[in-house]
């Protein structure tokens, strides 16, 4: 199968955020990571586009995303002081949405910085 080449790809494993990586990939996985370091290579090879996990889990049982979103909203809505935590391995666009959600549910938003 023909490989897709992605030039100047950005690696998000560590804070260096190297943006000069050349990735060769087929439909499911990345097979070549030019210029990436040992950590970056394992990062890119470790994540594939395969369906390895259920879409969602509620109490450990497979569920649809719609059901899981409703369940999540119900828990967060009913909480007095919900916590929104992490925000490290997500995009800035996601972080912005997470702050908006925290404001609406009246919670605390925090990241790895506080550790």
């Amino acid at each position: 199968m023909e490989l897709t080449i992605t030039k100047n790809a950005t690696c998000t494993f560590c804070g260096c955020v190297c943006d000069d990586i050349e990735l060769h990939s087929d439909a499911e996985r990345i097979v070549e990571t030019k210029r990436a370091c040992i950590l970056g290579e394992s990062w890119f090879r470790n994540h594939t586009a395969e369906r390895l996990y259920p879409d969602a889990l509620i109490d450990g049982k497979p569920a649809t995303v719609d059901e899981a979103v409703e369940a999540a909203a119900e828990y967060l809505y009913n909480a007095h002081l919900p916590l929104v935590y992490g925000l490290s391995n997500v995009t800035c666009e996601t972080q912005r949405e997470a702050v908006a959600l925290t404001e609406m549910i009246g919670g605390v938003v925090d990241s790895h910085t506080s550790l």
Binding site: T6, T12, C14, A56, L76, L83, L87
Partner: protein, 317 residues
């Protein structure tokens, strides 16, 4: 930038002739830091690259990064703050007590030489890692190092920069600063932002058991946090968004699988020097992105009736 004296990594590459790493091990944790940004690159004012630069490493043990250093200073564990205070005195020509110097595990000659090299540099930079900011003294250590960098500007150009770990943790600081005015641990429960590390920081909240629900995304606290904090996450309804089923997913009530940032999810990520960079994901994930899922949760909560505080009981009288 929160008042710190800093710069971009491009400036380090083009100008820095003295590079100090303090409490960090870039050779193993940020493998391309030396070759892409700091040591070996030739810069506009550093024509000979590595030959034009001096690298000093301060750490409690000789890590693989010591091989790349010109000078390795082995500070006694938990004596970073004392060493920084002595350096701040030495650059100003103040006298220091011999027993205070001995406490750090280094000699006065080593510290004086370090102080002189910093003052004589044309452009110096202090990179500091978790070996400084997460050990005894914590944020006071970071504050002492940032003060040292600021005070060195009386003699030459000097900057400081934290060596940030996980991918977009810098972006988290930037986005929270932009949206709320504070960089982390922001409490919005009163409808306006309040910031008080130690009170509204996650580990403290969880240890006190203050939260009655949690949404975890882009992190796996179940693998990294102190056990009592993890126990509280298991007690309350916890929701996890992650590309994999993680330790935290196993103790959560709801897990939603999402696309992996930068691999199958597009967007923007901040580098440790606060430069935003676009992602170029090569794969298409069968799962939705974190951004999309958070937005869907937002919409689902927005449909519910607005929460109003219970009415105050009428005053007796």
């Amino acid at each position: 930038m929160g008042g710190k004296v800093t710069c971009t990594l491009g400036e380090v590459k083009n100008r820095a002739d003295l590079i100090v790493y303090w409490g960090g091990n870039p050779a193993e944790c940020h493998p391309r830091h030396f070759t892409k940004y700091t040591l070996t690159q030739k810069g506009k004012f550093i024509p000979k690259g590595r030959k034009d630069r001096t690298m000093i490493l301060v750490d409690i043990r000789e890590t693989p990064s010591a091989k790349a250093a010109d000078i390795f200073l082995q500070v006694r564990p938990n004596k970073d703050f004392e060493m920084l205070s002595i350096l701040r005195a030495l650059i100003k020509g103040q006298r220091v007590h011999a027993e205070r110097v001995a406490e750090t595990g280094l000699t006065l000659e080593q510290l004086t030489d370090f102080a002189e090299r910093m003052k004589k540099a044309r452009f110096g930079v202090l990179f500091f890692g978790m070996g400084l900011s997460m050990t005894r003294g914590k944020h006071m250590n970071s504050a002492a190092l940032l003060s040292l960098a600021a005070e060195l500007n009386a003699f030459t150009k000097f900057v400081a920069m934290p060596m940030r770990g996980h991918g977009n943790v810098t972006g988290g600081d930037v986005i929270m600063r932009w949206t709320t005015g504070y960089p982390f641990g922001v409490n919005l429960s009163r409808g306006y932002p309040r910031f008080n590390p130690g009170e509204f920081s996650t580990v403290d909240l969880l240890l006190r058991g203050d939260n009655d629900a949690a949404l975890i995304l882009g992190a796996d606290p179940g693998a990294t946090m102190p056990q009592p904090a993890i126990d509280h996450l298991a007690r309350i309804p916890t929701i996890v968004l992650d590309p994999k089923v993680t330790h935290t997913s196993r103790l959560s009530r709801v897990h939603i699988t999402t696309a992996a940032t930068g691999i199958s999810a597009p967007g923007t990520v901040y580098r440790m020097d606060e430069i935003p960079l676009p992602l170029r994901p090569p794969l298409k994930s069968p799962y939705p992105t974190d951004e999309e899922v958070v937005r869907r949760i937002y919409k689902a909560v927005a449909k519910k009736p607005m929460w109003l505080p219970p009415e105050e009981p009428a005053a007796k009288g």
